[in-house]
Symmetry: C2
Subunit: 245 residues, 2 copies
DNA sequence: CGTTTAATTGAAAGCAGTCAAACTATGTGG
DNA sequence: CCACATAGTTTGACTGCTTTCAATTAAACG
């Protein structure tokens, strides 16, 4: 069951990071009905203030959560990678409190709310996995808040790069020679509460001290341990593989 | 049932903000077993890295969630008021990813994990209320991230004051003549990613422009509408009363 | 009262922002 | 394949919000 070639493989893998799922539950997940869709970069998947209709899973590509101030400044409040759920909270809340947009061209599976609700009701294991998924995202948001509130630009940027690398690795998506960061420097700034200009300068600092190598948007850490130290990074908050269920 | 005098009244009120609870469910909540305890300001209720044993509810007083950087800087990532649950996530995760501390002297009810788990299993309504509670907190964290990442000190501080007033009001704890802010300026700084010195100066700015009046830690807004505008505040993210269930 | 904690104020320094321009990469149409 | 347009990156000079450091005043507490 685990070896079939399904677009949902990464979603299942993601849920299994954190909870034990029975073979039966895994089977039910693979059987989820849904509408497959390809989105261009920038497309909105969820809009703040609107009632949710379905629940989307990210099959490939990247997405982000975003909020705006009244004056138009943007804060990216979350980053989703392949296998991540995009709006599980829509299963329980009637109004979206933030926007979700495709960061790159992305493939998603739009699953009807009711289908997942039924699944969660029928299977305690899946219900548990959904909650753990939600809680993990909340934990990441708290770490981001610490990052933006209390770390300087260099540490802050390094921390985001470490988190991304760690999450990609957990999904089996990290390559040997580093990874392609799917964000513009402006988007990095919006995620970190900085300006794109300062992101550029801070990237140069990290590059200048030999912590990483860049080629376009491809990033490779020269020394993971050193990068961890620079970034003040510890992965407990990602809750990868620590839930016995 | 709603009029009895129980220490859990505020907890029930809080859950009812967001979801419809049957009389039966309310009865079950009031019947929750638990150990009543009084904590001094600063006491730890949850410690990062430790496995949770019980789930606490705040009956009176205030508490906060907190994380530290390696260099010792503190970020307050959440604020709890009477009626709030302090660690619902302990029901689903095996390791705490942040600390929870009493902000003031506080009364809490320590409920065994298993009791709530049984309750959630037995009552879909209560399970739903728990998830909505968790999701609301996550939404607040995202708004805080936007606040810290993209708003200047004046707006940022005003926003926190508005949120506090709104949440207190929803719990029936707001007085006519403003409210007593239960935080030192240092703690305000830690919640907003600022220094205590700058909090002090920013409070003076808000006071100087006549947006609020202070007497010690008591704060009164002179004009709620004006304060909302200054703070760029909108309460949708608090999800007060918008869940049909 | 004396002691401790919190609030307040001033002066100076610094990190990050703003503004503007140049440069590079990518993509499109002729 | 080139010319042009567009989006993103890079760099410099200058500004400014917030921090830092230090000292003073006020409030809370036994």
């Amino acid at each position: 069951m685990a070896d079939i070639d399904s677009p949902l493989n990464l979603v299942v893998r993601r849920l299994r990071h954190q909870t034990h799922l029975s073979e039966e539950d895994v089977g039910k997940l693979y059987a989820l009905p849904g509408e497959y869709r390809v989105l261009e970069a920038g497309s909105f998947i969820v809009r703040e203030g609107e009632p949710p209709r379905h629940c989307a899973f990210l099959l490939s590509g990247f997405a982000f959560r975003q909020k705006l101030t009244n004056s138009g400044a943007r804060q990216i409040v979350g980053l989703q990678i392949p296998g991540d759920a995009l709006d599980l909270q829509s299963l329980y809340l009637d109004v979206a409190d933030h926007n979700v947009q495709a960061l790159t061209r992305a493939e998603i599976l739009l699953v009807p709310r009711s289908a997942i609700q039924r699944l969660a009701e029928a299977s305690p294991g899946i219900a548990h996995a959904i909650i753990v998924n939600i809680l993990t995202e909340a934990s990441i948001t708290r770490e981001w808040l610490l990052n933006v509130g209390r770390r300087d630009a260099r540490t802050r940027l390094a921390h985001l790069l470490c988190e991304f690398a760690t999450r990609m690795d957990a999904q089996g998506l990290a390559g040997e020679g580093g990874y392609e960061l799917p964000m513009t420097q402006e988007q990095l700034g919006d995620a970190l509460g900085l300006t794109s200009v300062h992101i550029n300068r801070t990237l140069k600092v990290l590059e200048g001290e030999g912590a990483l190598v860049r080629q376009g948007r491809r990033i490779r850490f020269t020394d993971w341990k050193n990068m961890r130290r620079i970034a003040d990074f510890s992965d407990i908050y990602l809750h990868i593989g620590d839930q016995t269920g």
